[in-house]
Amino acid sequence: MSVGLLYALAGAALVAIGLAGLLLLPQLLRKILAFNILGSGAFLILVGLGQRDGGIDPVPQAMVLTGIVVAIAATALALALARQLLDLSGRMRLPEDGPDAGAADD
């Protein structure tokens, strides 16, 4: 097994951890961290699979650099929104009503 493939497999584990965290953790800061773990997993897979035969592939490396900046941007916006929600509601979590719960309220 090459080092690249090992990275990719670790990435798969990170994706699973991030996905579970994003869906299960109620606290917004943890959700945002979970999204970052999921993203890092995807980046590891992208770079790892590209270099599984040992050579260096600059294309996925450049793609991941692009992806990291995009993830920073998304994280910053998410943090600003979470912060705003904290200021407005005093809570750092989304209300727990399921889909369509607000259907009949006014």
């Binding site: 917004l28 992208l46 996925p60 929104l81 509601s89 889909p99 369509d100």
Partner: protein, 486 residues
């Protein structure tokens, strides 16, 4: 010199430039610049459509490298139709937004820069022929849409924006994962390079990638049961934003589903998967329409109507997968026609709803009395948009449903016909619920004020376009046929 006048790159660079300039100009500025620029973008799309009809699909190799080293832009009939829809919806909505934010200044500060980036992302997405580049356009689109939802502030919109952001990020995460698997399997992310490589004997990684990308797109398109984020986001944003999101943003991800399904992943599609998409679409139609009927707030009603109308889009998959080519062509035409008709009609409906809310000072269906007397053109626009959503002739919605119906009958799948009829009846029920209230006299204690004429006329232009689409849809279908997507 002709290279400088190529409409393809300008369709992406122009909105990026005016969005950024609007930001530099300062809070609330840039509206007139935006309207002029969108009008120019509209002319560029028309020029592009002319080029396609005359000479077939066009490729633009960014950087001059060409795939797989560089990124290619591809303009075929399907992309051109979506570009046409985007500019046709954006222009009246930009005129509407200027009037709307003059009456309701909350959220106007950074509306124009975000809208510029939103349109740049849409145009870039429609033209991209590169899976990783599409990922970047998806993120630009998602962040612009989320930013617009939160633009007016307040606890409910910020909550809705956060929910939307987490959903859309999960969706793009799934897409990126798919891109990583595809690159690992084939060494390229270019659609043109990949298409001949993906066959029925594709490795597990390619099948998994297809499933992940499809799931991510369904989440972003808000197909039932992934619709949980849509109603509060679309229903809570300022009216011009709701209109842009419902008319265009969810269509962008639907467009990607369609393109992948018909082209890149066509060898991997199965009847079972297509039926599943159809069932989810049918559930969306019934569930979304029923919930729309149960709403007490006008914009939430219109938002749930979007959940339902998204369902019609997905009826095309069971009707176009592994069936005779005639039926498949009709189904794809019907689905695309539905995307265009719904885009125009829903933009009109949200715009009209926004005018009614400005005029009555509240978002409450029970207090719409007097709107019929004071804002007849706005109510007429709402009704016309409703005619398209119901699928009554001669609207664009009728043509769309007729094409889908024909495909359903040709392939013997009559059960989708029943769903479409039930959906049409439910749609009529919630549209008449609004119209009935609006024709009542003003309730004592309430007052209905006038709204700027630009609000009334821009909504009317959109509703009229949705009707005219039914009468003059043939050129659009001719354009769609360029490049063999349908």
């Amino acid at each position: 010199m002709t290279d400088f006048l190529d409409p393809l790159p300008w369709l992406i660079m122009l909105p990026l430039a005016w969005g950024t300039l609007a930001f530099v100009l300062g809070p609330g500025r840039g509206g007139r610049l935006a309207i002029a620029a969108i009008a120019l973008q509209g002319l560029l799309v028309l020029q592009l459509a002319g080029q396609l009809l005359a000479g077939g699909a066009r490729v633009h190799a960014v950087g001059g490298w060409g795939a797989p080293l560089g990124i290619d832009l591809l303009a075929d009939g399907l992309a051109a139709v979506m570009l046409l829809l985007a500019q046709a919806v954006a222009l009246p909505l930009a005129i509407y937004a200027r009037g709307y934010f003059a009456a309701q200044p909350k959220g106007r500060e950074l509306f124009w820069p975000m809208t510029g980036y939103l349109l740049a992302a849409l145009n870039a997405l429609f033209l991209s022929a590169d899976l990783f580049n599409i990922y970047v356009t998806l993120e630009l689109l998602g962040l612009a849409a989320v930013g617009l939802v939160a633009i007016a502030g307040g606890q409910a919109p910020v909550t809705a924006a956060l929910r939307y952001l987490l959903a859309t990020l999960l969706g793009s995460g799934a897409w990126l994962l798919g891109v990583a698997l595809i690159y690992g399997s084939y060494g390229s992310v270019s659609l043109a390079i990949l298409a001949p490589l993906v066959g029925a004997d594709a490795p597990l990684a390619a099948t998994l990638a297809a499933a992940l990308m499809l799931a991510g797109l369904l989440l972003k398109t808000a197909l039932f049961p992934f619709h949980f984020w849509l109603p509060p986001a679309h229903g809570g944003a300022p009216a011009p934003v709701s209109a842009l999101l419902s008319a265009l943003v969810i269509k962008a991800t639907f467009y990607l589903v369609l393109r992948l399904w018909l082209e890149l992943f066509a060898p991997l599609t199965t009847v079972a998967a297509a039926q599943l998409l159809g069932i989810l679409g049918a559930a969306a139609i019934l569930w979304g329409s029923a919930l729309a009927l149960a709403q007490t707030r006008l914009k939430m009603l219109v938002a749930y109507s979007t959940v339902a109308q998204v369902g019609y889009l997905f009826l095309l998959f069971p009707l176009a997968t592994l069936v005779p080519p005639d039926a498949a062509e009709s189904a794809v035409q019907g689905g695309v026609m539905q995307a265009v008709a719904h885009g125009l009609a829903k933009a009109a409906m949200f715009a009209a709803a926004g005018s009614m809310i400005v005029a009555t000072g509240r978002d409450d269906i029970g207090r719409l009395g007097g709107v019929g007397a004071h804002l007849p053109l706005t109510l007429f626009s709402f009704g016309l948009a409703g005619v398209t959503l119901m699928g009554l002739p001669p609207s664009g919605g009728f043509s769309a449903k007729w094409l889908l119906l024909r495909a359903a009958l040709e392939t013997g799948q009559w059960w989708w016909v029943a769903v479409m009829i039930a959906g049409g009846l439910l749609t009529a029920a919630y549209v008449f619920k609004v119209l009935r209230r609006a024709f009542l006299p003003v309730a004592s204690g309430d007052r209905v004020t006038r709204v700027p004429r630009t609000l009334e006329f821009s909504a009317f232009a959109l509703a009229l376009a949705a009707i005219l689409l039914g009468l003059f849809g043939a050129p659009l279908l001719a354009l769609l046929a360029v490049g063999g997507a349908a």
